[in-house]
């Protein structure tokens, strides 16, 4: 079960996602983890909001 959680920087800017609380995924089109995240969203899933 894959989980994603949005990550904001200390100034409130959305900078990426935590995947399974193990990986920080940057918002980068060429990053295959980010590509997998986009596919996951396209399947109807929604990430957890940032704290």
């Amino acid at each position: 079960m894959i989980t994603y959680k949005k990550v904001n920087d200390p100034y409130g800017n959305f900078v990426g996602l935590f995947k399974n609380n193990e990986w920080f995924i940057p918002i980068a089109e060429g990053n295959t983890d980010y590509q997998e995240y986009l596919e996951w969203v396209a399947e109807g899933n929604t990430p957890e909001e940032a704290e």
Partner: protein
Amino acid sequence: MANLILKGNTSGQVTIQAPDEAGTTTLTLPTTNSTLATQNSLGVRNLIINGDMRIDQRNAGSAVTANGNFPVDRFQIFNSTDGAFSAQQDSSAPTGFVNSLKFTTTTADGTLTTTQATQFQQRIEGFNFANLGWGTASAKTVTISFWVRSSLTGTFGGSLRNNAQDRSYPFTYVISVADTWEYKTVTVAGDTSGTWLTNNSVGCRLTFGLGGGPDVSGTASAWAGANYSNTTGAVSVIGTLNATWYITGVQLEVGDTATPFEHRPYDMELARCMRYFQIVPIAGTAHNSSELCVTGTFRVDMRDTPSINSTVSNRPGYYNGSLNTLFNVGYGNAGVGNAYFAAGVVDKQGFGQMYVTSGLTGGRLYAGGAIMSAEL
């Protein structure tokens, strides 16, 4: 000693000299309309990285068991079956090699359905595959060579596929004797159809099938507009409990003839692996409780902006999001959690800032390290 001398029409000559020793040395010329010098690069001709399974930055030889894991650098295992496996770098190897990759089936799945599959795969970056001209009329022939052994015998499968996985070429190789290293070669005429990427995305997927359902298994030795990772009727390693499969010396080169494995220097091969995965040191001063001011340059430019892992354990000085092990110089391990880099200041070349959720003390010096992954 005997010399064979070929003289040019006007000047110059080529001398082929036979050694003054017993035995036969064979010089094999290509069968296609080409020459040795132009058909096959004499250096850095192997498009596979870490083909001799020497480098294992992630696991240091420990076994992996999860779908998507990398048991050694650049090689990834996918398993969508109901079976389970263990895979790791191993010291069993044929003469001339030190390491191999060992795959063991720990839970068998004897009946694979639809797209269920177990695959051992390396994805070749498009930049390194572009000169093959695949997807055009001038697509070059390639030859795959490797050493393999298994507790099972019979006809095994594999494939070459493009990034979109809508072009594939299933191939076979036969293991004749159980638990014995055997050398295999497979020659594939380049694909003149389909889209084969030539940038920093996947140029080609070389897959060794360890089991495949009917929907991902195709006819051997023919290009297909389908996603085949294996060959119909191939031996299923995942189908037999405790079955083993080893591989090393994997080479994929231009041309219709397999040349001896290209043993590249360790530092060269490690640097090539680091384009996709590396551990980088971190040192910087905390600005406040959640901001660490650091800058760093990757040891090798990465393929793309990397993902960052923060779960390194048992490594003093390396931060860990769960175990709070960012080292606070002069004060011991820091009580910080969920370290991460801001995406705006990390790219292919390096990074410039790290944020943590809390726990830093402004003005103190912190050190650690971070795992970067820009795998294909």
